[in-house]
Amino acid sequence: MKQSVTLSSKVDTAKSTLGATLARLTARVHSRRSLRTRSRKQWVILSGKGGTGKTTVTAALAHLAAREHQLVLADADVDAANLELLLSPTVVEEHEYVDGKVAAIDPQLCTGCGECAEVCRFGAIVAEGLNYRVDPTACGGCAACRYHCPAKAISMVDSPTGRWFRSETKLGPLFHARLYAGQESSGRLVTQVKQNARLLATEVGADLLLIDGPPGIGCPVIAATSGANLAILVAEPSVSGVHDLERILSTTRHFGVPAVVCVNKADINPAQTAQVKALCATQQVPLVGAIPFDTTVVEAMVHRQPVTQYRSSPAAVALQALWRDLEPWLEAETEQGPDRHAGRHV
């Protein structure tokens, strides 16, 4: 009980701190530059398959966009948040996010009847001697056991989901998070990160909220994607890359978010790059860039820099072209982004 009081007061403090920060940033931005009327955009970088280069592309686009536009950044891959590794952020706010609950059995009250184990559909109740206990890594917090327990021996206790941060970077404010190992509500932590980033982006009138998305097509991806004007899909020219691109394309279409595709390591397998191109053509999705395989990407990562800092490297040159293709989407008036076929075909 004591813990939950502390945590809720922490959340209140967090809210007021964020409010004060917003006011400060708004004032600063308004004094520094003239107000613009341009509509704010929200772009998310996705891939389906992991490791195709989402974070590399996000950091590069942020680096290029920040030269002329005001940005807010969010890392929605709360399982494995890597954007911070390239942007050297200074953390200015840190909060614990408590969303879920897990069941806990009071061994004093437990009569060992085992009814909880029978109603639990998630295998989270483990027999231990004559009594039962909850495996918190399996418990999803549905509370079915709590409502069913005849001895009223089960209560629901807070299960901290993770920590989220607001940081300052040279390219703009960055919202990021770290999911505690094995937590259930990664989608809700993503939403928490994204909502805070959106709030700040709206307050300061940022031109672009750029979101580095998670891999896959499930809950955290849906959370990262909702509300986006554009999804930039980073594809890898391999049999599995094409397969996964198809699934993420179906997902963005399912949720009505316009998508564009860029191919990373495009020269590794020209035949599969052609497959990506063909898929884009049949699905009427613009192919907006082709980034060659370039060892500078890893070199830049080792030096904690966006690869576009290495201006004449082949990857950076391709990413500059990608940004030139994408920039018009920033100016588009419609909520749904510009004409779907406007992208330059490579």
Partner: protein
């Protein structure tokens, strides 16, 4: 023996290792191999193994169905639903099946017996043989949010019972460190964590070790893929944390080419078969040593 192949970071080579290991051990008769692709959001193993899929099963969860003739609109169902999948408004009951986790609390707690449960499809399971490999995979439907019910059912469906000897069960995990990875790793005897020697690889490996060894108390070993790129961070961490590096797969253009074309790298480049046999013996020794 159940060995899960996981990684915090995506694209480090989980599928590469899982398919390569399965192929070498099965073809050489070193183990009866069951390979389960638990990355139900983006399953890729089948692309390399081309299994003949002979069995299918639908995966669904049970969601509430309200009998309005019996409902007294007392609101108990909405009160007990942690996921806000039901709402009672005057003489209406709204259900939101997309939010339902299928726990059954609403039906169980309904005093007037007005709630029955009906299946809602989440995806499907498929199984069949690929050469000597017994293969199975889950496939979550596009637009669904929850991968865990599909993974849970896949493991119940495709992992052989203990009575059937002691086969090797390989689980190809999804990336990350959230609930779907926990669902995959739980009940395994060993976790092989695949990483690459870069700052991203290191950052995500640390998280994977924390989850597999710290939270789930599994013995772990590391496979370094694309060895030779990047820096020494992964090596330093493994030495410091006492995590054994069991295999290094060098940065080899031939592997990347075979992989991108959908070919099995261990067939294309047979010199990698012996290192994988050695890895299997290492894992066996690690599990034996821990017991």
């Amino acid at each position: 023996m159940i060995v899960a192949i996981a990684s915090g970071k995506g694209g480090t080579g989980k599928t590469l290792l899982a398919t390569g290991l399965a192929q070498v051990l099965a073809a050489d008769g070193l183990a009866t191999v069951h390979l389960l692709d638990c990355d139900v959001e983006e399953p890729n193993d089948h692309l390399f193994l081309s299994p003949t899929l002979t069995r299918k099963e639908e995966v669904s969860i049970l969601v509430p169905k309200i009998d309005l003739a019996r409902c007294t609109f007392c609101g108990r169902c909405a009160q007990v639903c942690t996921f806000h999948a039901l709402a009672v408004v005057q003489k209406k009951v709204l259900t939101f099946p997309q939010l339902c986790h299928g726990c059954g609390s609403c039906a169980r707690q309904c005093a007037s017996g007005a709630i029955s449960e009906e299946p809602m499809r989440m995806g499907q399971l498929e199984a069949g043989d690929a050469g000597k490999i017994h293969f199975a995979q889950g496939l979550m439907d596009v637009g669904q949010a929850m991968a865990t019910p599909v993974i849970r059912r896949l493991k119940q469906w495709a992992i052989p019972r203990e009575a059937e000897g002691d086969p090797l069960v390989l689980l190809d995990s999804p990336p990350g460190n959230a609930c779907s990875v926990v669902e995959t790793l739980r009940g395994s005897d060993f976790a092989l964590l695949v990483t690459e020697p870069t700052p991203f690889g290191l950052h995500d490996l640390e998280i994977a070790v924390e989850l597999a060894r710290g939270e789930l108390k599994l013995p772990v070993g590391v496979v370094v893929n694309r060895d030779g790129v990047g820096d020494h961070g992964v090596d330093d961490f493994c030495a410091r944390a006492g995590v054994p590096i069991l295999l290094r797969i060098p940065l080899d253009r031939r592997i990347a080419e075979a992989y991108s074309a959908g070919a099995l790298w261990v067939d294309a480049i047979p010199e990698y078969r012996e290192p994988l046999r050695r890895l299997y013996r290492e894992v066996q020794a690690q599990i034996g040593g821990g017991q």
